[in-house]
């Protein structure tokens, strides 16, 4: 709970001020009862405030911080029906163990022995004053004054003597006015001591972790932690580690509020504990097992402007190639994230979770006979692509690509699967029922099969033997289709989806 700056105001609208309200539960009534002014309680039931802590409502404290046009922070406990709200005193905030983990901007101060600094609270430095003064006096005595300065100093002594002033002049080490000498003492690390570097000048990550460690040691058993982007300056493994420490610190009784832009941080949290904030909209909460799985597999998706939930890795790779030209921009530049949805039921569940959380999303789905009802609902509520006239990309390809080009795809699949073309020819050949076979697998193209038999056999082989079932394979397929000449039936459908996505972006 530090001072606020003009940057804390929404869009720097200082005249508007700002106001943040919070309800704090799990109160120690004994501790509150002995507050200088008895705080008044509110109730909390079913995740919402109620006026009185009666019946099965939990008793909670409603508190507020306001920033006014004079850049002052006002902490109080608002009362409905009157502006005369009692102050939310620093004492009460401390009692509630409302701990502000010092932010990076306070590192320089908190890693020094200033009054009330984190370091000061740890070292309880009442008796440090004398040693500091003596160390500085010694340092001043040992200071070697260069010749020219010495001459100038002699001149000053002479002038002082002439003016009847004290003339036993020395150069001393004196703190800057308004600062305490003891404030010059800071935590430093390095050996030898003369070469030690102040921790306050260390890298962002080290500073951040040092501050968390110091704050954590002072927090009580049920702290309320509010931390802005604890991941700053840390590698993903240290981001995960700091989140684990924050979670441990909050324990089962405390609570931590953390803002983050780091997938590594998000991946450590449970879906029910995540709210997505955007602009001035009400934060959205996520729920559901599929969302939980996505959180582990692709936490990036939750930060996207539009996550596009793909049926599988093939579609993810396919769109990776095909979408950018359609929207005319790099996908990262417009916040699109292609997500491997892990199958249609999962995609539908994730889409449902996103829609329930009022989050924009799109999906790219196979036209399977199952799930049609759920699919239609999702289609009605978000941008959803469903193959028309084909079941999936494999079916669409085998259905609409020209026959010679279908054979060219054997080379693409060979590259994608890392197997020789003839293995793939074998796979196609053995999909043809025995009575229909003509010649051997090498004669597939020349044997004069009826077109439909070949198309069906390719489709079966491609699907069963998973020719394009990875993201890379999906990309290869897309490139091949583009190079070979995209069938108009596929082109039109994907173009339409591209338009929908562009509309969403707009």
């Amino acid at each position: 709970m530090g001072a606020c700056s003009e940057f804390d105001f929404f869009r720097r609208r200082i005249a508007d001020g700002f106001e943040i309200e919070a309800y704090i539960g799990r109160l120690d009534l004994g501790s509150l009862g002995t507050e200088q002014r008895l705080p008044h309680l509110h109730g909390w039931r079913n995740n919402a405030p109620v006026p009185l802590p009666e019946g099965d409502a939990e008793h909670v404290l409603r508190c507020r911080v306001r920033g006014n046009a004079d850049l002052e922070l006002v902490y109080d406990l608002p009362i409905d029906g009157t502006d005369d709200a009692p102050t939310f005193t620093a004492g009460l905030r401390r009692k509630l163990m409302l701990a502000r983990l010092a932010g990076e901007e306070r590192a320089a101060r908190d890693l020094r022995l200033g009054t009330g600094s984190l370091l000061d609270r740890h070292l309880k430095t009442g008796e440090m004053r004398a040693p500091v003064h003596s160390a500085i006096a010694n340092a001043a005595a040992e200071m070697v004054v260069p010749g020219a300065t010495g001459v100038a100093l002699d001149e000053l002594r002479r002038m002082f003597r002439g003016a009847g002033l004290p003339s036993d002049l020395h150069l001393g080490l004196v703190p800057v006015q308004g600062a305490a000498l003891v404030g010059m003492v800071a935590l430093a690390s390095g050996d030898p001591v003369r070469e030690a570097v102040p921790i306050a000048y260390a890298g962002t990550g080290t500073k951040q972790t040092a501050l968390l460690t110091l704050s954590a040691a002072l927090a009580g058993t049920a702290p309320v932690l509010v931390i802005d982007e604890p991941e700053r300056g840390l590698e993903p493994y240290r981001q995960r580690s700091i989140i684990k420490r924050i979670t441990d610190l909050a324990g089962t009784e405390g609570q931590a509020f953390v803002t983050t832009h780091a997938p590594a941080v998000l991946g450590m949290l449970r879906a029910e504990n995540i709210w997505r904030m955007r602009g001035t909209q009400t934060p959205w909460q996520f729920q559901g097992a599929a969302i939980e799985r996505l959180l582990r597999s692709d936490p990036d998706a939750f930060f996207a402007v539009i996550p596009i939930l793909c049926e599988g890795a093939t579609e993810q790779g396919l769109l990776e190639e095909m979408l950018p030209p359609l929207i005319g921009r790099d996908m990262d530049a417009c916040g699109i994230r292609l997500v491997d949805g892990g199958g249609q039921p999962n995609v539908l569940e994730i889409a449902h979770g996103f829609i329930a959380a009022s989050m924009m999303c799109a999906s790219f789905l196979d036209n399977e006979p199952a799930y049609s009802g759920r699919r239609e609902r999702i289609q009605g509520q978000s941008a959803a692509f469903v193959w028309n006239g084909a079941i999936n990309i494999e079916d669409a390809t085998c259905r609409w690509i020209s026959l010679p080009n279908l054979f060219s795809l054997l080379d693409t699949a060979s590259e994608a699967r890392g197997v020789q073309r003839r293995h793939l020819e074998d796979q196609v050949f053995f999909q043809i029922s025995a009575p229909d076979r003509r010649g051997g697998p090498r004669e597939l193209e020349a044997a004069g099969y009826p077109e439909q038999i070949l198309r069906t056999a390719f489709n079966e082989a491609m699907t069963r033997h998973e020719w394009f079932k990875t993201r890379v394979a999906g990309r290869l397929l897309a490139r091949a289709l583009t190079d070979l000449g995209m069938p108009v039936e596929i082109r039109q459908q994907i173009d339409r989806f591209g338009e929908r996505v562009q509309q969403l972006l707009a």
Partner: protein, 296 residues
């Protein structure tokens, strides 16, 4: 009962001690001393709560406990309820700001409504009472014979929480209000609730005229036993004065009540109007011993 016994009982761990204190027997002194004594060693943030009925009594307690280095909060029960209720006013459908709406007059909230509202709050929201119990480990109630049922219930609602100790000072013989079942707290009930009952019955106020103190105690016993006021045995310093208009002041009860209570013998009754003044004056004199007309 010796003062020593009373003081021991007051400072004992017994949760609820009732002190029957006749006028002039050192009630205010003992209550103030108790608050000052126990208010010194309370944990940080806790206070002795001393509840009186009048601002005059609060001022007297404040004067006596000030400078004792003790944490004592003296206040009237109305002010206590008002403080407690103010932040909850709107949520209890009371006018806000409550402080501005309480008082006498049309559309205002009478003081008498504060205690029932406080009981309402404390009954509905036990957490509020729990905070009070932690804050006030010792509650001293002054002149509690005049407390209404609701006023008594305010303290009752948090006294059983935590380790709250209650010390009730009162004298049924000084009740300003006629005992009205359901409205004024019954002395019998206080006796039943108390873990220990002691009495302050050694006259302290008339050290210079001990015979007056003795007679007042005798008179009190006689009245309590339902007998006549022993005016014949009164020491020379007791003078019976007629105070014109006193009957109109109204102490909350009518002539019938007075007559029953005092049962003056016929030779002492000198006409109804005069008798009323006489009764009232003497009752006032005996019971509160503040009417200068009686004591020379």
């Amino acid at each position: 009962m010796t003062l020593e016994t009373v003081r021991r009982a007051l400072r004992s761990p017994v949760r609820n001690v009732l002190v029957e204190a006749a006028g002039g027997c050192g009630k205010t002194y003992e209550a103030s001393e108790l608050a000052a004594d126990l208010g010194r060693d309370l944990p940080e943030g806790s206070e002795v709560l001393l509840l009186a009925h009048t601002n005059a009594a609060v001022q007297e307690f404040t004067r006596r406990t000030r400078g004792a280095g003790a944490r004592v909060r003296s206040t009237t029960i109305d002010a206590f309820c008002l403080d407690l209720l103010s932040p909850y006013a709107q949520r209890l459908a009371l006018a806000t700001p409550l402080r501005r709406w309480v008082g006498i007059g049309a559309g205002r909230i009478p003081f008498a409504d504060l205690a029932p509202q406080a009981v309402n709050l404390l009954t509905r929201c036990p957490a509020v009472g729990t905070m009070l119990a932690y804050r006030y480990p010792l509650v001293i109630l002054d002149e509690h014979q005049d407390a209404s049922v609701s006023e008594h219930a305010v303290v009752a609602s948090f006294r059983n929480l935590g380790l709250c100790r209650i010390r009730i000072f009162g004298d049924p013989m000084q009740a300003i209000y006629e005992a009205q079942p359901g409205q004024t707290v019954a002395w019998d009930q206080l006796m039943r609730e108390a873990g220990q009952v002691v009495s302050l019955d050694m006259p302290q106020r008339w050290e210079a005229q001990p015979e007056l103190g003795d007679w007042i105690m005798d008179a009190r016993s006689e009245l309590r036993a339902g007998r006549c006021l022993p005016l014949a045995q009164a020491p020379g310093c007791v003078r019976v004065a007629n105070v014109a208009g006193l009957g109109c002041v109204g102490f909350g009860h009518g002539k019938q009540g007075l007559r029953r209570r005092f049962e003056l013998s016929p030779d002492q009754a000198q006409g109804e109007r005069q008798q009323y003044c006489l009764d009232t004056t003497i009752m006032y004199g005996v019971c509160t011993l503040r009417a200068p007309e009686v004591i020379s």
